[in-house]
C-alpha cells in the first residue's frame, strides 16, 4: 500500500492553487485607487490582522514611501536601474521608473500600528485590525 508522505512541496502547491483562485477576486476590487497596478500585491489574513506582501525587487529602501491614513495605504517610490558605462545591452527586460499605488482595505485598521519590512525585494506590511472593528462576544444575561 502506498502511504502518503508529508511533502514540503505539497503545501506550496496548495498555496499556489489558493493564490490562483484568489486572482481576480473582487476583495479590493474597484476600491483600489492608483496610478497604476505596479507593484503587485498579495494580501493575507493572519488571525485578525492583515499582511500585505508587495513584490519590489531592486528598490532601495530609501526610495520607498509608505503612508497610511484611516483604511488607506499608499505605496509610492522609484525604482532605478543603473547600467555601467560603455556596455552593450543584449537583453533588457527589467523595468524602472516611478510607482504610486493606493490600497483601500475593506475593514477598519489601526494606521498607527502598521509595520513595514523590506527584505529580499519583498515589502511586507503588517496591518493590525482596529480594536473597535473586532467582533465582540455579547454576554447573555
Amino acid at each position: 500500500m502506498i502511504m502518503g508522505y508529508a511533502d514540503p512541496f505539497e503545501t506550496l502547491f496548495a498555496f499556489q492553487r489558493a493564490l490562483e483562485n484568489r486572482l481576480a477576486s473582487d476583495w479590493l476590487g474597484t476600491t483600489t485607487a492608483s496610478m497604476g497596478t505596479y507593484p503587485p500585491v498579495n494580501v493575507f489574513q493572519q488571525g485578525d490582522d492583515l499582511v500585505a506582501i508587495v513584490e519590489l525587487p531592486g528598490v532601495q529602501k530609501e526610495d520607498l514611501n509608505v503612508q497610511a491614513k484611516e483604511n488607506t495605504i499608499r505605496i509610492a517610490g522609484r525604482k532605478a536601474i543603473d547600467y555601467p558605462e560603455n556596455v552593450s545591452l543584449h537583453r533588457r527586460e527589467r523595468l524602472s521608473g516611478i510607482f504610486d499605488r493606493t490600497l483601500v482595505v475593506p475593514m477598519q485598521i489601526d494606521p498607527d500600528g502598521i509595520k513595514a519590512e523590506y527584505n529580499d525585494g519583498l515589502l511586507a506590511l503588517f496591518i493590525p485590525r482596529a480594536e473597535r472593528d473586532k467582533p465582540r462576544n455579547i454576554q447573555i444575561s
Binding site: D7, P8, F9, L12, F13, F15, Q16, A18, L19, E20, R22, L23, S25, W27, L28, M35, G36, T37, Y38, P39, P40, V41, N42, V43, F44, Q45, Q46, L50, V51, E55, L56, P57, G58, V59, Q60, R78, K79, A80, I81, Y83, P84, N86, V87, S88, L89, H90, R91, R92, E93, R94, L95, S96, G97, I98, F99, Y118, N119, D120, G121, L122
Partner: protein, 134 residues
C-alpha cells in the same frame, strides 16, 4: 528621463520545462537584463523573496542555470484573501559561449536581485592593435 516613466506590472511567466517534473510545482522565469562590457558579461535577474542562501548557480555543458527557491515557511499561517501574483521558485537557463571563463563566475545578491558576472576568457577580450606608420 527613464525615471519619469510609470511602472507597469510584468506578468510572471512560467518557466518552460525541458523535462517534466515529478512534482506539479510551478516555477517562474525571473526577468533578466544581460549586458556586456569589455571584461565581462553580466546577467541580472529579479527574484523577489529569494535570499542568498537559496540560490543555485551552475554551469553545465555551456548552459548557465540559475535557480532560486522561496522560503515557504514565511507564509505559514497566512490565508490568502487577495492575490495579484503567484509565488514559486524561479528558474532560468542561458546558453553561454565558451568565451566565458566559467571558473571565475561571480554572483552578488541584493534586494531580491542577483547579479552574475561572467568574465571573458583572456583570448576573447578585445585587443587594441597599434597601427604604426611605416
Amino acid at each position: 528621463m527613464a525615471d519619469k516613466q510609470e511602472l507597469q506590472v510584468q506578468e510572471k511567466r512560467e518557466a518552460e520545462k525541458a523535462q517534466e517534473q515529478t512534482r506539479p510545482l510551478r516555477a517562474f522565469l525571473p526577468t533578466a537584463d544581460i549586458f556586456e562590457t569589455e571584461e565581462a558579461l553580466a546577467v541580472v535577474l529579479e527574484m523577489p523573496g529569494v535570499d542568498r542562501s537559496n540560490i543555485d548557480v551552475n554551469v553545465d555543458n555551456g548552459v548557465l542555470t540559475i535557480e532560486g527557491r522561496i522560503d515557504f515557511n514565511k507564509y505559514e499561517g497566512l490565508q490568502p484573501v487577495y492575490s495579484e501574483y503567484n509565488i514559486g521558485p524561479f528558474r532560468r537557463s542561458f546558453r553561454i559561449s565558451s568565451q566565458v571563463d566559467q571558473d571565475k563566475i561571480k554572483a552578488e545578491m541584493r534586494d531580491g536581485v542577483i547579479t552574475l558576472t561572467l568574465p571573458k576568457a583572456e583570448e576573447a577580450k578585445p585587443r587594441r592593435i597599434e597601427v604604426r606608420t611605416g
